[in-house]
């Protein structure tokens, strides 16, 4: 258990805290917009911390690059999905008001 392992463990545990916060927001927030906000923000940061910890444990450059790519793809697709859901909801709300 060297310093690198301890740093990686701390990073991953912090990532888990963020994931828990995101899930708590998903369960506790009132409307869909708030839930999506909590989910995308907290989960993306949590995944970033998790990925950084895993990259430290893996040790290779290739592994770190692959993990970073995964994190970027998850963020990109998560943000787009969140936008699409919010857009659809907004349109439905406006259609309901007309």
């Amino acid at each position: 258990m060297n310093v690198l392992d301890i740093v990686a463990a701390v990073l991953m545990l912090t990532g888990l805290v963020f994931f828990s916060a995101g899930t708590a927001g998903l369960l506790r927030f009132g409307d869909t917009f708030g839930r999506m906000h909590a989910l995308t923000k907290a989960d993306n940061v949590g995944l970033g911390l998790l990925v950084t910890g895993l990259a430290l444990i893996d040790g290779s450059v290739r592994g770190a690059v692959e993990l970073m790519l995964i994190w970027l793809l998850v963020m990109f697709s998560g943000a787009t999905a969140c936008y699409l859901i919010a857009n659809r909801l907004t349109r439905e709300m406006h259609d309901g008001r007309d």
Partner: protein, 311 residues
Amino acid sequence: MAGIELGAAAFDWLLATMIVVLAALAAFARVLLTAIAGLIALGLVLAIAWARLGAVDVAIAEAVLGSGVLGGMLLKAWSGFAASAVDDDASMHVAPGALVLLALPAVLIAIGTVYAGHSADALGIGDAARAAIGATGVSHPVTAVLLDYRALDTLMELAVLLVAALAALSIGRIRLRARAPEPALEALLRLVVPLLILVAGVLLWRGAHAPGGAFHAGAALAAAAILVLLGWQQLAIGRALAFAGLALGVTVFSVLGALMLALGGLLDWPAEHAGSLILVVEIAATISIAFALLLLFAGGAPWPRAGEDQR
């Protein structure tokens, strides 16, 4: 280290519990969308479980096919279903007799215990299979089994997929109105679709020496095509191309396998050319699997049937 073993055991128990809970959710949820979401999540947790058991090929297939393509199909069906349904939250009514399904795991465990003695290693052929892998042309044992030792099984699987796709084509008929996707979605698709095609190529090539292969590559390719279908609402595939693509895998596989009759036996690849033959077969199979999954997802033929008006 005992701590790591304890942690791994705890993780495995957590996985097993999650699988049971998600399966119950998928089977018995009142709201249909909840059941579908449970099934998608179940597919991903199952993929992790397969990886924990060391079956990485199955894990990839479960994640892409069981969770990705199947989840997409179910959501597409649900959206069409919910749009025409009278009430807003389509709910499922499960007959009490369906609870007998809960006995299924016990039955499976019993069967598994009985047949554990019939595994390849227990029968003594595991070592022989691993020793002879040099003559198969590939170094990954799963690919060697799928495309050399049990090539006939894989050929039959491809034929089954072909029949399923043909059935969907003959029953369904879809009308697509092309429209431009929203800018955010278009930006994502322009990044992800080429990346998926690249991933498909990597999976196909890696199949020889690492987890991968025709089914995984075909599913990734189908996912790229499905994304294009969902984003631009276009399926630029005519009847000729669709049938050619669907039939390519089974045709190439069976023709090459039959040609082997002259050299030794049906589907018996000669050792010095086995690698190249398997690669050719896998490329053809990838294309066919991609076409089949795409057309199964689309749900029907995008071209007008004979006798119908061309619209």
